[in-house]
Symmetry: C2
Subunit: 87 residues, 2 copies
């Protein structure tokens, strides 16, 4: 499990580091991450409206940037769906 | 990222399926999972008191079982520490 967690952390950092704050995902970075890393887990990942909606549902303090823990809530939701757990 | 998420889900299921409800972790299952899967991320994982404290901090509805999403909060915290993000 630790190596899988390490993969998620390093991938988050790789995308978060593209522009601006290296510890948070901008909308653009989030879009890139979702389309390239989560193409099967997020439906219609290519649709900008889907990305906007997802981003605003996660961005708890509405600052236009996703922290790691905000992003983690999405992964948890996707993982839970993927695993077939009741929500 | 999707394969790493898949690993976390399947490992959770493998431990959750040992006894009782196959979708949740009992204290015993949680203890086994932490000591064998997260030995470096959780300090003093072998100490029952550490496990008890961790379990009660995660078990939001205090039913003695951890759902996947309750467990996910722990992984997020560990991942965040591992990644050196501010909490």
């Amino acid at each position: 499990m630790e190596s899988a967690i390490g993969v998620l952390v390093s991938q988050f950092k790789a995308y978060a580091g593209c522009d601006g704050s290296s510890d948070t995902l901008s909308r653009e970075e989030f879009h890139k991450l979702v389309t390239s890393q989560l193409p099967n887990f997020v439906k219609n990942a290519g649709d900008p409206a889907v990305i906007d909606q997802l981003m605003s549902s996660l961005d708890e303090n509405s600052d236009g940037e996703l922290t790691f823990l905000e992003f983690w809530q999405l992964i948890g939701r996707l993982a839970s769906q993927h695993g077939g757990f009741s929500q």
